[in-house]
């Protein structure tokens, strides 16, 4: 199975070709190396999946990366069930996004650069999921962050885009700081960073604890929480979610690939990968579950009132990532990865549809200026409708199976699980509502834009609609591999992952309770859709009146709970104050510039003073010499006397 090393390296080759030859030679043909490379990776990933299904796995060290005393890290690849699933998700979505971008980015001046970055991202993401040690995971983790930064700020001439890129990078620093510490503690504890020995020996340290400034904390809990810090940043969970909505400044295919399907799910993947560590810490698991549950609800409430089509989907992504963490937190890692996998398809589809709408609307993002697009762009409409049905959890579609499995697992886990189950179910209601609010505002009713825009409306070219249709298949059918037993399926997906992710077995949960959770999640989904129909089709005056009568709540939601303003107050302003008033005004201007400018000034002044002695009068020199002689004479005489 050594051929799998080519899976990440093909996109790397594509990146190198594009970055060297793209601008001068390839120009409008720059999509070829990248797209072919990722297609090659997709084919190899399917082969890898086939091999893994047939029971083969691989843990292969390519070469020694760092050897320094007892610190040894290799570049190595671990291909097991979890990696195989991630490989399929990453390469398939990446391939479709590449194809879509050929149409979407057509004519952009940065066309070769765009494909170069996409290839670099695909390489980094594949390195991340295929790593067999924590350092390579960290490398991939930072590299995808870099690509995310580069692609959010792709249109860097636009101030808001470059600001959003910086924001994403800086907010991620907070999470990655914890993640880095976690990796360091793992090395200090186990003396190695490779997954297999670490996970094999983690049970030995379960009773150890460390003392941090008088606070006694369990070592496993500490490691798990620090790793989770990284996941919170990368996967935009509370309280570090603020970067993801702003990241929508990037081109829409980037939002689909990086900020919906792959990179932001790296946190979930990492938690699942480290499940042997998380499983041993009850505290950390509860934190993961509660953060996930709260994020799911929190982001969903914000999505209710936003008018920017991409931001609605961005908050929806945050909310769905919350579901995945919720699942991991109650021990149902399989369900979390299952949702990651189905979500990748329907959320990428939603974003690409939004991109198609923007393409038709000449870059317009405000849903209040859309409406009635259904008859102009039928393919986009139907695919987006199916994706929305899928995310709302309508039975038979992908989102139903994964979300239902998460909610049932949470319910069945008991304890904290019951609490997050309630959060999740409530969020499911809101999800269905805002998804259909988006559909109705965009595609139904009358067109509310300008005449010029109306004239311009058109369906996107086939190079964009074909990826939509293919993703639509994923949004419908990807869930069929995990049909639960109660519906006559056998949950192949969970069974497939069970060698890596332990499969929870719930005692004392009856079939009727399982039917109840499933029925409830379908019920809230349908209710959400019906309310959206009532609000935005039957009686459009209701939302306006609601916004007026609950103006306080509306304002809070519209301003996203003032989280950005809060961070601005407690983080950004103090940092800027320190930078400007202390570092710049004092340290830089006074101390450093004082030394740098002061030394030459001192030398100059000394020289000016000494120059006065160099007056050109020979006798003065003679006197100075004679005086010197006199001093020496006196000195010698005194020495001789005493």
């Amino acid at each position: 199975m050594e051929y799998t090393v080519w899976i990440p390296f093909l996109p790397l080759i594509g990146f190198i070709i594009n970055i060297i030859f793209g601008k001068k030679i390839l120009r409008t043909q720059a999509h070829w190396p990248s797209t072919l490379a990722v297609f090659g990776s997709l084919v190899l990933s399917i082969m890898a999946l086939w091999d893994v299904i047939n029971g083969k796995t691989l843990n292969y060290d390519l070469y020694n990366w760092i050897i320094s005393d007892n610190f040894r890290v290799s570049v190595g690849f671990l291909v097991d069930q979890l990696t195989a699933v991630m490989l399929i998700v990453v390469t398939s979505v990446s391939f479709l996004v590449h194809v879509y971008s050929i149409g979407y980015m057509h004519g952009d001046s940065g066309y070769p650069r765009f494909f170069a970055y996409l290839s670099l991202f695909t390489f980094s993401m594949l390195m991340l999921v295929m790593a067999n040690n924590f350092l390579q995971l960290y490398f991939g983790w930072e590299a995808v962050g870099l690509c995310s930064y580069l692609l959010i700020g792709f249109w860097y001439e636009k101030r808001s885009a470059s600001d959003a890129g910086k924001k994403a990078f800086i907010v991620n620093r907070f999470g990655d700081f914890g993640f880095g510490l976690g990796v360091i503690i793992i090395f200090l504890t186990f003396g190695t960073l490779h997954y297999v020995p670490v996970f094999g020996r983690v049970e030995e340290i379960v009773t150890q604890s460390v003392n941090i400034y008088g606070l006694e904390i369990n070592l496993v809990t500490l490691i798990a929480l620090l790793l989770f810090c990284g996941a919170v940043g990368k996967s935009a969970q509370l309280p570090l979610h603020v970067w993801l909505p702003d990241a929508m400044e990037g081109p829409t295919p980037v939002s689909a690939l990086i900020h919906a399907a792959t990179m932001v799910t790296a946190g979930v993947f990492m938690v699942a990968r480290c499940s042997p560590i998380f499983d041993l810490s009850h505290t950390a698991m509860n934190v993961v579950a509660v953060v996930g549950g709260l994020t799911a609800l929190f982001a969903a409430t914000i999505a209710l009132v936003q008018n920017d089509i991409k931001r609605v989907i961005a908050y929806s992504t945050i909310s769905q990532l919350g579901y995945m963490f919720l699942a991991c937190g109650v021990g149902a890692y399989g369900a979390g990865i299952f949702h990651l996998y189905t979500h990748a398809y329907f959320k990428a589809l939603l974003f690409l549809c939004a991109g198609s709408v923007m393409h038709a609307m000449a870059g317009e993002l405000d849903m209040q200026k859309m409406g009635g697009l259904k008859k102009y762009m039928p393919i986009t409409y139907w695919t987006m409708l199916i994706a929305s049905l899928s995310i709302s959890g309508i039975p038979g579609l992908a989102g139903f199976f994964s979300k239902d499995e998460i909610l049932f697992s949470a319910y069945a886990a008991g304890g904290v699980g019951r609490f997050v189950w309630m959060l999740g179910t409530l969020a499911a209601l809101l999800t269905a509502f805002y998804s259909f609010r988006l559909i109705f505002l965009t595609f139904h009713g009358d067109f509310r834009g300008t005449e010029e825009q109306k004239h311009h409306l058109h369906e996107s070219p086939p190079v964009m609609t074909v990826p939509l249709l293919l993703l639509c298949i994923g949004a419908v059918a990807s869930g069929w591999v995990g049909i639960p037993k109660i519906l006559g399926g056998s949950n192949h997906f969970g069974e497939f992952l069970s060698p890596v992710l332990h499969h929870p077995h719930y005692e004392g949960v009856t079939h009727s309770e399982e039917w109840m959770t499933m029925g409830l999640s379908v019920f809230v989904g349908v209710t959400g859709i019906l309310v959206a129909i009532l609000f935005y089709i039957k009686n459009p005056s209701i939302p306006v009146r609601l916004a007026q009568s609950f103006s306080f709540i509306y304002r809070v939601l519209w301003n996203k709970y003032y989280v950005d303003e809060f961070y601005n107050l407690i983080v950004v302003r103090p940092v800027l104050f320190i930078a400007k008033s202390i570092i710049d005004a004092f340290t830089d201007r006074k101390i450093i510039e004082g030394i740098v400018n002061g030394l030459p000034a001192l030398v100059g002044w000394t020289g000016a003073q000494l120059r006065k002695t160099q007056n050109g009068i020979l006798q003065h020199y003679g006197i100075i010499m004679a005086t010197g002689l006199l001093f020496i004479l006196v000195f010698v005489l005194i020495r001789a006397i005493t």
Partner: protein, 100 residues
């Protein structure tokens, strides 16, 4: 036999006269002569002490000083002549072109 300290007094006296002349006079030729006087005062000291201590190194050093003094006089007088061709003066206060 002349005692040592007479020689030393003579040397010191020659040196002091030379130094005083160097510091006081403005005529560059006179200043040159004063320098020679100082050097020779030192030479007298060296020779006297060399004889007193029965160590020939002092006399060797004296020969060195005479050689250096000859070279110095040659170079110095050449400079004075070159200077005098450009500026008809031997007064050191008026020669300030090389001042920093």
């Amino acid at each position: 036999m002349v005692p040592l300290h007479w020689y030393l007094w003579l040397g010191s006296l020659m040196f002091c006269i030379g130094m005083a002349g160097f510091l006081i006079r403005r005529n560059i030729i006179i200043m040159f002569l004063c320098i020679e006087l100082m050097l020779n005062g030192v030479n007298v000291n060296l020779v006297a002490l060399s004889h007193y201590m029965q160590d020939l190194r002092g006399q060797v050093l004296t020969l060195m000083v005479i050689a250096v003094a000859a070279a110095e006089a040659a170079v110095g007088l050449a400079i004075v002549i070159a200077l005098f061709r450009n500026r008809p003066t031997v007064h050191v206060d008026e020669i300030t072109e090389m001042k920093g």
